[in-house]
Symmetry: C2
Subunit: 425 residues, 2 copies
């Protein structure tokens, strides 16, 4: 072999190991680039199933997978367990907490989003979002501890327990349905001394219907199913304050709550502005051009929930897993084109439909052309799709076992309260 004057391969840094970040890395695996994925967690989280961890249907390990393990076969991909402190765009350098620096040729912002509290007083402090594995564990502990405390209090007096879910999108609907099932199972199987009718699961939304991204017949179906599971639903109602143990609505009602679950929406603005020195654009997301580069940048890209991915001339893509995966894949291809001296291509979202599940055997799916699948068929489709996208064969197997269990209502399940901060004994 002739000794040539080769330049070392370009370095691509990806911030975030969610759907989008992993899709970018997959697109760059075993190509002539060096890739570093930076994430403060050493695992990828399958967010669509977090609500099942929160409601004790699945274990944390069922929906998470070590990032290193995903790319064990790709020698050009490294993982770096770190928190990004800042990006120095002028020098093309990522600065990590602790001060270490990583220079990049291309940078991909795939930092996702977090719960949006819309400035509602007390919401960020007392309401419980569901956007990370830690969120899910915390919420589960809260739910189970509330039930244990109610069981004790029920010895002496009648106890009422109210869980409020704020938001009637897929996360809110799925969580309310699963929570209602958890309560029913816990009372019947675990012999808790609370009457089922004394536990209230209340879903509130400002909108006049559930699942506004779906057609109206899907909303009606979800409403009917949730109601039959004992979930109360209030439309056109907004939250004005969340306190410890209470919630206050715009109509003046103040309600004692065991937990307020926050499923009202997401924003990307905090992370972007603070850590990445990117000023938030539409919906708190990073402004990108049609090829997914940050406006005014040639080598910084944004994908997934963190980016305002264009859908057409006037609209942006919704913050959904398929958008994250497709934009990640597109970004990887474009980076390779740029490195190869070719012009970039514009991103086009291929709508594959959306779905939400309401409980065992009830789900609703909206097809790309607007059709709706409901009921058991929708549920089976939901189940298959989620198993398919779950990373790792073992996770799929474990989730399948857990679901089978829950489906047949066998009297076990991971209803463990493992405290966040526990003393040594």
């Amino acid at each position: 072999m002739a000794s040539t004057n080769e330049t070392p391969p370009a370095h691509v840094v990806i911030i975030g190991g969610g759907f989008a970040g992993v899709a970018v890395a997959r697109g760059l695996a075993n190509k002539n680039v060096r890739v570093t994925i930076v994430d403060k967690h050493n695992f990828h989280t399958f967010l669509p199933l977090l609500y099942q961890v929160a409601t004790a249907g699945l274990e944390p390990a069922d929906v998470a997978y070590p990032i290193r393990t995903i790319f064990g076969h790709a020698t050009n991909i490294r993982f770096r367990h770190a928190q990004v402190r800042e990006v120095d765009h002028a020098r093309s350098v990522v600065i990590l907490e602790g001060g270490a620096e990583m220079s990049f040729d291309h940078l991909v912002v795939a930092t996702g989003a977090t719960a949006a509290f819309f400035g509602i007083p007390g919401a960020s402090r007392y309401a419980m979002p569901l956007y990370s594995l830690a969120d899910a564990r915390r919420l589960r502990n809260r739910l189970l501890l509330s039930l244990e405390a109610a069981d004790v209090a029920a010895e002496h007096a009648n106890v009422k327990l109210t869980f409020v879910v704020v938001g009637g999108g897929p996360t809110g609907v799925e969580t309310a349905g699963a929570l209602s099932e958890l309560v029913r199972i816990a009372i019947r199987r675990d012999g808790l001394r609370i009457r089922p009718e004394d536990v209230r699961v209340l879903l509130v939304d400002l909108a006049p219907r559930l699942l506004t991204a779906f057609p109206e017949n899907a909303s009606r179906y979800a409403l009917r199913e949730l109601s039959s599971m004992g979930v109360e639903i209030n439309f056109g109602r907004s939250v004005v304050e969340v306190e410890e143990g209470h919630i206050r609505f715009d109509d003046g009602e103040r309600l004692a709550t065991a937990a307020v679950i926050w499923a009202a929406g997401v924003t990307a603005s905090g992370t972007l502005a603070h850590d990445l020195q990117v000023s938030p654009g539409p919906g708190g997301r990073a402004r990108v051009t049609a090829d997914l580069r940050l406006v005014d940048s040639t080598n910084v890209w944004a994908v997934g929930d963190a980016a305002a991915v264009p859908l057409n001339d006037t609209q942006f893509c919704p913050q959904l897993a398929p958008v994250a995966i497709q934009s990640g894949r597109h970004c990887a291809a474009q980076i390779l084109r740029v490195l190869d001296g070719q012009p970039t291509q514009n991103f086009h979202y291929r709508n594959k439909g959306i779905m939400a599940t309401i409980g065992r055997q009830a789900a609703v799916a909206k097809l790309p052309r607007g059709g709706v699948i409901k009921g058991t068929l929708g549920w089976l489709a939901w189940l298959g799709l989620h198993l398919f996208y779950l990373v790792g064969f073992r996770n799929r197997l474990r989730v399948m076992i857990n679901w089978t269990w829950r489906y047949f209502d066998w009297p076990s399940g991971p209803r463990l309260i493992v405290a966040d901060a526990e003393t040594a004994d």
Copy 2:
């Protein structure tokens, strides 16, 4: 049916939902007594497999099971999720944290044991014991975080990583073996940039051999197996101080450590004296008569690790799961005899042997008559026995799947770092 002047059934309070407490409750299930199990955790933990949770071979939910679910079928058994503050023996009342009181006709102390630090400076603060699910999670996070940090540091310099296991009993041997496997898998499969020879797993013990409860040929076998897995073993060496990131030995050596794992022994004294107003006796355990009642008490019993269960006139039983289970069963039978007006019987321990595993395919078992089983056969016996005693069919299934995975070394596994105290995003 004639209306009779029946007295309400006697109330038995069991403090602790471990092997011993669960065995007592099982013995009282569906009998004419009311039973309340009090535990600060809502789950039963299968302690013999904690080291596998710590070394990322199993998930917390694989070795834990909700106490309520164990007794879902027994209507006379209640669970109370609470911490005991104090026992008022004169009034026969248990006082819980928060002030609630529970009166009892019989009380069973099944509070188990915790790590014994023998007053060694810094040990209780900086060494990591392995006696609860929280301990196991904390240790796992520490191990995985150390490897991640070493991977980063290895970019710039040669990194040495030392894990010290203090204690050469079954827990120490099992943890050292599994830790050594974890390191090897993490380096090979996850592409960590540390050289295997730079990670040191050091087991120290004051004794001249491993597994002193076993015959000498078992000790030699364990030593050979651990050594072949790369574990260094130092005998006749004691720890004089544990500091943050360091350990100091009696020979003056001070070693930088990534983690010090404390498997040096257990004591029951703290819980007994503080919470239960029982003065600790032999080995920190509660003094009991031959029928397992506290000395000087007619209605307070002690079982399992918390009790100095007599083996014969001069010796006490070891603190092992079989002793806990057998003493719990015996205690339940005696309570029923007392309530029935019959005299109590003395407890006799039936030795069923002991076992320890050293890694995949290597284990050692000591049979009741002194024989030893080693190697694959021992490992299969160990495996079968542990699956058999694990509570809940689903747990057994999940553990079997996890072990099969690990056995074939498939590149996945729950190597997740889920922090104890994590911020909301």
